[in-house]
Amino acid sequence: MTQTSQALDDLRSLPHLLRKNASRFPDRPALREKELGIWQTWTWAQAEREITNMALGLIELGVKEGDYVAVIGRNRPYIYGSLVAVQMAGAVPVPLYQDAVAEEMSYVLEHCGARFVIAGDQEQVDKVLEIQDDLKDFEHLIYLDARGMRKYDHSRLHDLRALQQSGLAAADGLQKELDSRVEAQTFETTCVMLYTSGTTGKPKGVVLSNRNIIISAKNACEFDGLKETDSLLSYLPIAWVGDFIFSVGQSYYAALCINCPESQETVLSDLREIGPSYYFAPPRVFESMLTSVVLRMQDASRIKQGLYRYFMAHASRVGQDILDGNAVSALDRLTYLIGDAVIYSPLKNALGLSRVRVGYTAGEAIGPEIFDFFRSMGINLKQLYGQTEASVFVTVQPDGQVYSDTVGVPAPDVEVKIAESGEVFYRSPGAFVEYYKSPESTAETKDPEGWVATGDAGFFDPDNGHLRIIDRAKDVAKMTNGSMFAPKYVENKLKFYPNILECVVFGAGRDRCMAFVNIDLAAVGNWAERNNIAYSSYQELAGHPEVLRVIQGHIEEVNVKIAQDAMLSGCQVHRFLVLHKELDADDGEMTRTRKVRRKVISEKFSDLVEALYSGVQNVFTETEVTYEDGRKGKISATLEIRDVKTVAVSGRIAAE
């Protein structure tokens, strides 16, 4: 016991883990980044030097223990390093979403009272400077990429590398102070504060302690056997808890190497070059990979198409059993081996997934055919269920027990229970400390015994004991006829069609369900090209009668499936329209993590909702849109509303 606690004491904070990695694996790669066309590496020893210098520089600049330091930037070694440097200096890092607009940033910076901000480039610096007058605590801004800022007033602006230099120069005087601040870290000290994107209301600052992060990272590393030879592509927003756990927590715990892409646009080719062994992507990334494979196969020669079809059919029959180690006949194994040589391996290589040992997806439901496609090729893709408040992990699928419609069993050290209302609760070492400056919402979410409400409704599947999530608990409602309404359940089924990018289903407190649909411009555009349908804009394509016919077909298929589910058969969609604009986070219709904000949408498009329920066939509407640079404009359109065939459910008709 004492031995374990002693061992844990040595890794009680990220700075401790950094020092341990630097002494155990000084020459192993810690962080890589593609710069000027070449992968540049920081070894653990280098990482320790860079980060220590940064921390010294921060102390010299006046960072005090307990300060909050905001970090905004894309995935780069210096940015990741600065998160740990801030902790080394005794302060709390607060990573922010880099695509947040200035007002959104203003709220968070004001709320956490950040005295210091570390920003990646001019774009981020400009946003902070724009709002600096509203921030009474703000003092200094540190930037990484100096481009375009030579003429800026540098009284409060500092170059990160210059900061490191001055930190190094002052090391003699400050090293002791630095060491004592690192020593002062305990398991209960705050490791990081992450703001939740907030599907409702203002973002909340989730305080996560060293214990939360390190124990969660430790459990997850042990669960999947991750070690220093593993590598990971870090391309998701640094402000997202998953990225913090994977790219910082797990990376520091297991000393695995993280790789930063050259730019947002090069992620796919960087993925191919790195070939990570541990990979995380939200379902939409897998979805777009599959879409591109399917589209490109349509342009391949007939022989290749034939081979692809034959072997993929074989893979979907036996691939998953082989992956899970179930019994498969020798002949099938042989065929699979040949398929691996001619199709699966080259395809995995082209996607950059050849070396993936453990792959995860989470955040949204993933379409069964997408999930099965990757698994059947031998990629160990699994699902997990988590949230910021849990330091990610609530449930996770163990190797060999993977089902596309469940999210797995409770993760190590996590207890899960389902309340009367159907809401999922958990208690775990990863469960957050509190919401910053908000004891009321902390009390609402976390009870004194440590049970945290997820806000999601779900149940344990009686067949396999895995958790199934149906919807957000607050979105699950009753319809006027008393049947259960779970919009996400329907939306997910619809979104599995490549043509449908987003949809929003209405029905709470109504007698029937209606839907808004966003088409996927890439998929539908490609289809239009093949069918000689001319279009000049999203809006035009979205209103095309042929497109509406196809979408109608999809919805009718989904209605048939929903009708089979006794509990949710009332959720069949009766009428729908295809929206004239894509739902966008810039217009507040979605969160930055691309979750629809139902309330905002139903208020903003209330005229369309009413039109759906009123029975009219056409509706004229005008909507304000925000362009990327912040300018506003208006678009107007006349939308056609279509009726959809529904399936009568015998049970309910009898009841009526």
């Binding site: 000027l36 375009g148 050259e262």
Partner: protein
């Protein structure tokens, strides 16, 4: 540019130096057609100088005179205080003058990177055979050149298309690649022939940003021809206005905008 040579500082803090290039009484004829008639103007170090005018005013001809592609029948071109003899364009390029073209002139079958690398050709010293063997000095030279090109690629944010053949790129990106190739030669004077032609608003904004950044970061002097008046007025320090081969105005954007001859040339004038 040495600070001692700085003669003025712009409102946004850029440094403008002495005369870099001076055109003295240039006249260019093609047979009986007079394309440029007795034009004189200068380009200062570090400034953004625009040449504007209606169609057929002789703007592109003027740029071709600067780049050494055309040799004027009358008049003199002075560069860095020396009169320039009638030299070949590649010799002009070696003196640190690079350009982009009105109708993109890239090698369509080559990748973006290879196209940008061709911008380094004038700086390469090793011969064809050495390069083919890729050994010793040739290897070192290529690595140095590649690094310079990669910095330009990074600067213009075209990493994602580094290995893409140019033929597959959309128009706006091709324009950017052309700028990259010109920048790869690390020019002192950059000539841009209608850098925004055929672009949409967003592409124009991006390109304007890049032009300002090039001027700001590298201190490159820029001479550009452009039709979009908004762009010209926003970007340039001084503007030369041409009409029918003659110079009808020269000065700051503000001065030019209020010049009656310029207004007449652009809006037309009644013949009574």
């Amino acid at each position: 540019m040495l600070d001692s040579q700085v003669t003025q500082t712009t409102a946004d803090g850029r440094k403008i130096g002495g005369v870099m290039m001076e055109m003295k009484n240039i006249t260019l004829r093609f047979g009986g057609v007079v394309a440029i008639k007795d034009i004189s103007f200068d380009i200062l170090e570090g400034e953004i100088r625009a040449i504007i005018g209606p169609n057929g005013a002789g703007k592109s001809s003027m740029l071709n005179v600067i780049s050494g592609f055309y040799h004027p029948q009358d008049g003199e071109v002075w560069f860095h205080g020396e009169k320039r003899p009638a030299v070949k364009p590649y010799e002009v390029a070696r003196q640190g003058i690079a350009r982009t073209f009105q109708n993109i002139a890239l090698f369509e079958g080559m990748t973006v990177l290879d196209n940008v690398m061709t911008g380094r050709l004038t700086q390469m010293k090793s011969g064809v055979f050495q390069q083919a063997l890729w050994w010793g000095a040739a290897e070192r030279e290529e690595l140095e050149n590649r690094e310079i090109c990669e910095k330009v690629i990074d600067f213009l944010e075209i990493q994602s298309i580094r290995k893409t053949p140019v033929a597959r790129l959309p128009y706006g990106l091709k324009k950017r690649v052309e700028l990259a190739r010109a920048l790869a030669s690390e020019p002192k004077l950059l000539l841009l022939d209608e850098p925004m032609a055929g672009m949409n608003v967003e592409e124009k904004e991006d390109m304007s940003r890049f032009i300002l950044d090039v001027n700001d970061e590298f201190g490159t002097t820029i001479a550009l021809i452009e039709h979009d008046m908004g762009v010209v007025m926003d970007l340039s320090d001084r503007v030369v206005v041409m009409d029918y081969g003659r110079k009808i105005g020269d000065g700051t954007p503000e001065e030019v905008r209020n010049n009656q001859a310029v207004i007449d040339a652009y809006l037309g004038v009644s013949h009574d």
